[in-house]
Symmetry: C2
């Protein structure tokens, strides 16, 4: 891990298994076996991508940690996410939902809180990850509320492009974009 | 359009607005104005990506065409897609659902047909685009049925990695992968 961090700091993009092995004081073939376990394939001649290897190592170290998640906006899309039982297979656990409307939804056994309970509940449950599934016009104000409440990672399903403070990470899943990809191929990267 | 196709055939990756203008017999500034309308930004010194420009032009020509879509597997996720009214804003129109269970779902005003009606309905409605939201174990056999019925584009929401005949295009949306991205950054490209 330290060897890779060092390489990344020096701005090295790829590394051969031979050089990486030397840096870690192990044999190249032992290293290649370990890397196979991570599924990482060195692209034959150019070696392994330092950034991808670091990410895979992070994932490996994180393997037994469960990431708690809240769903904000429990409409048809948010409800589907809260009903899905397989997130736990991948070490994600949805712990609660938040919505202006807290009436019980069929098939959801998790609590749904009002929006004014967000900051308190997020702190109490020690959650830093939120999935945003509110209507587009509510997206930016709700995202600001999430960040103020201590959320650091947002998976954004709304069409809105969110502006958040730097340390907060946002990943935008745009379903229409994925559908357009099948018709037109990769378009211009999204304008942020 | 022809100028760009010609460049792509020659394996040219990027083109400056100056060279592209010369190929199309227009002035460079007129061309730059047109391209702005497509939102395409030439990355300052290296110019415009030929592939992206071609895709944007395709999208522009396609602007008034509505792409008909069927949703296969109308569970919690498929239902959310069939309730969503905004697909029409982006020239997509969901016309029907297919499922083993055809009982009426609350809030869905579109017809849901049994799977044995797939080939006939897809041909009658002239649909070539399907969104796959069946359980993972049903994904591959249902995908084969889709292809046999005349579907040419599949947006796959199941965790299964589909193997389909070459001309059929598949785009895989993996929600867990998108969530992992927020924790670990870009991992190994998906193994197909
Ligand atoms: N359903 C889909 O297939 C789909 C596809 C693409 C994009 N999206 C996007 O995902 C988001 C959710 O879509 P949906 O179909 O579930 O919508 P929906 O209308 O069914 O659900 C929205 C939910 O957000 C709640 N809400 C509204 N304003 C709120 C606020 N200020 N604070 C907290 N909760 C609020 C509503 O009470 C409702 O429960 C939208 O932004 C939509 O554009 C959905
Ligand atoms: N809901 C989510 O948040 C979510 C998240 C990630 C991935 N997914 C994936 O999306 C898919 C759908 O998830 P869901 O939560 O809607 O599941 P679900 O169980 O609610 O719905 C599945 C639907 O498929 C139908 N079905 C089952 N076998 C079929 C077959 N052979 N032919 C036709 N229809 C069949 C069922 O009748 C049911 O209506 C799954 O593959 C799941 O792994 C869902």
């Amino acid at each position: 891990m330290n060897a890779l961090v060092g390489l990344q700091k020096q701005g090295v993009g790829t590394v051969s298994s031979h050089n990486l092995a030397a840096l870690c004081n192990v044999s190249a073939s032992a290293l290649r076996k370990d890397l196979m376990a991570f599924r990482s394939k060195g692209k034959q001649r150019i070696g392994y991508s330092v950034a991808e290897l670091l990410n895979l190592l992070k994932k490996e170290l994180y393997r037994d940690v469960v990431e708690k998640v809240v769903v904000v906006g429990v409409g048809s899309f948010g409800s589907a996410l809260m009903k899905y039982n397989n997130f736990s297979l991948y070490n994600f656990q949805i712990v609660a939902g938040f919505d202006e409307d807290t009436t019980h939804r069929k098939g959801i056994n998790l609590p749904i809180y009002k929006m004014d309970m967000l900051a308190e509940t997020v702190k109490e449950l020690d959650v830093t990850f939120a999935i945003l599934t509110v209507p587009e016009i509510a997206a930016q104000p709700v995202a600001r509320l999430l960040v103020e409440s201590g959320i650091e990672k947002i998976l954004n399903f709304t069409p809105a492009i969110l502006k958040v403070a730097k340390p907060v990470k946002v990943n935008h899943v745009n379903l229409v974009y994925e559908m357009e990809y099948l018709l037109f191929g990769a378009l211009e990267p999204e304008q942020a």
